[in-house]
Amino acid sequence: MQDTGKLGRKVLPYALVLPAILFLLIFTIYPLLDMVYMSFTDWKLVQPAKNFVGLHNYRYLFGRSDFWNALGNTFYYSVLTVISQFCAATLFAVWLRKNTRINSLVRTALFTPHIVALLSVAMVWSWLMNEDKGLLNMLLNLLGLPGLRWLNSAETAMTSLVIVSWWKSVGYYTVIIFSALQTIPTEIYEAADLDNAGRFSRFFRITFPMISPQAFLCLITMTIGSFKVFETIRVMTGGGPGKATYVLVYYIYMTAFQGQFKVCLACAAGVVLLFIVGLLTALYFMLLSRKVHYQ
């Protein structure tokens, strides 16, 4: 009896986490491994045969200029999104720091876009950014400025998408940083006043280090999120004009489910994406985690 009791106690924890483990295995680990496996085959959706072809898919991908173009676009989009969101969220949070009634209203307003479905956001912004009948150009014209081409020009399309994602997410990150700011005790600033600290020194030596764990989390979430950009592109530009907004995930989608249904190639591109995101996260941890201050 005692033995089974001991055994039961040893097994129980595993039994309790089993559902979660099973879920992970079936819906995350297995597809991931299968993706890696398929990237070494020549499988297409329209042809049942799967033959092992080694690194052929990767060689093919890296030989194609449209793949390099998608990679470049993705990086451009990510860098712009992460930097603009991170700086804006921090600035907004510091700006809205005082707990006045107006500030809490602004905070709520800023956060609202986060709860709207991305698809709806994309549709609304498509209309706002319409070159001929969009609200944005109308406002610009009202101010006596020439309208912009927004999504219709290769030069402005990507930046327009960055603006949409910025609008949708900045409030969310602002709230995270804001709540981090709220945890900083006021005496620390009083001590800094007595230490004759200037405004910049206060921010960079005291405020920012104090919110570094949340800032670090935001940075990683933003980076990963920006690499996964898809919906806005699918709805607003379809990768165009030309291939100006063709990003990696859109490339994967098009390769797998349009034209020749080359799932094997899409899988190889997926592995590349996985690799890049993993590398960036590791890089962040290596470079920044020592500077992050955990309480």
Binding site: P185, I188, A191, L194, D195, N196, A197, R205, S212
Partner: protein, 347 residues
């Protein structure tokens, strides 16, 4: 070193008046302790001197210079906060160095100062640690070092020992007294602990509801309180205050001035009373006595009296303090003193 002076200082938070027309002078080199019940405005006075949360009106002077409009960082004073307020993201060294850097003190001087001060307060081995890796007492020392390194003219301390355990507190108390003797700088120290006030102060400033009740050295404030509030605030257990028979005045006496005897003694004031409780404190014993529906506390060196028994308590004439109807002291040179004292003897 500097003299601090507050002139007609008022402070309001919204509609709440914390200080009104407060005048206070703290002499150069003095160890001044601000004490009072919570909410009396003692911390507000300290913060007004520091310039954090400035006064609503009035002036703050340092060495006869008006510093009312100077920002805290330019006032040449340092403050030790109740919960230390050391910068948690900086190492101990950076914490101490920060104020010097902001004052553009050159690096060699900074390093010399840090080495010197950290040696004095005993944190030299921990300079490269983060505050989270230090004990409460060590953090207290870091806060002290951060204040000392600036070589300020005035030290402000806001209940700096209240977060330490009893043993460490009495140790730090001695160290602070030594530090003051060594630096000879003006100290302004806020506390609600009368033991700290009595043991450390050159001058005690007792506040209640934003009004200074009495300013004096510890001995004077204990033996010669100027009103009922001071008499009862300083001293534990507090002074016994009884109504004076046949008048609206009252009289008081310290619990340790009472003599207990089994037989009726020959004394100025003597009265039979019943012992209600007895608390053994070791070297002395506290008794609660009751007579005529009144109760008093007595601190005695004798522990032989038992609860439930009757004893005589007695007092000498000079140990009785008289208070007027407005709660201020009635001093021996004032009219009606002899009469009132005689009334007290007839209790």
């Amino acid at each position: 070193m500097a003299k601090i002076e507050l002139r007609n200082v008022s402070k309001r938070f919204g509609n709440t008046v914390v200080l009104e027309n407060l005048n206070l002078t703290i002499e150069d080199g003095q160890f001044a302790v601000l004490i009072g019940p919570s909410g009396c405005g003692k911390t507000t006075v300290l913060r007004t001197i520091a310039g954090i949360g400035p006064q609503s009106s009035g002036q703050v002077l340092m060495d006869d210079q008006d510093i009312s409009d100077l920002p805290p960082g330019k006032r040449d004073l340092a403050m030790v906060f109740q919960n230390y307020a050391i910068y948690p993201t900086m190492s101990v060294r950076d914490n101490i160095e920060y104020g010097l850097k902001n004052r553009k003190v050159p690096a060699p001087t900074r390093n010399k100062l840090i080495a010197e001060i950290s040696e004095i307060v005993g944190i030299a081995p921990y300079l490269d640690r983060k505050p989270a890796q230090l004990s409460g007492g060590q953090r207290q020392r870091v806060a002290l070092a951060r204040a000392m390194v600036k070589k300020p003219k005035v030290f402000l301390m806001d209940e700096p020992l209240s977060n330490l355990d009893a043993k460490l507190r009495s140790q730090m108390r001695v160290e602070l007294i030594e530090l003051h003797n060594h630096l000879k700088t003006t100290f302004v120290y806020v506390t609600h602990d009368q033991v700290e006030a009595m043991s450390m102060a050159d001058r005690i400033i007792l506040l209640n509801n934003g009004v200074i009740q009495q300013e004096a050295n510890p001995r004077e404030i204990y033996t010669n309180p100027c009103n009922k509030f001071t008499a009862q605030f300083i001293g534990a257990p507090q002074m016994n205050i009884l109504p004076l028979p046949g008048s609206d005045m009252s009289f008081g006496f310290r619990p340790e001035k009472v003599t207990l005897t089994e037989q009726a003694p020959d004394a100025f004031l003597k009265k039979k009373a019943r012992i209600i409780t007895r608390e053994m404190l070791g070297s002395e014993t506290l008794y609660q006595l009751r007579f005529d529906k009144q109760s008093i506390m007595v601190k005695s060196l004798s522990d032989v009296f038992l609860p439930g028994t009757d004893v005589y308590f007695s007092l000498r004439k000079e140990d009785i303090l008289l208070f007027k109807r407005d709660e201020n002291r009635l001093y021996p040179q004032e009219d009606g003193y002899g009469q009132a004292l005689a009334a007290a003897g007839r209790v």
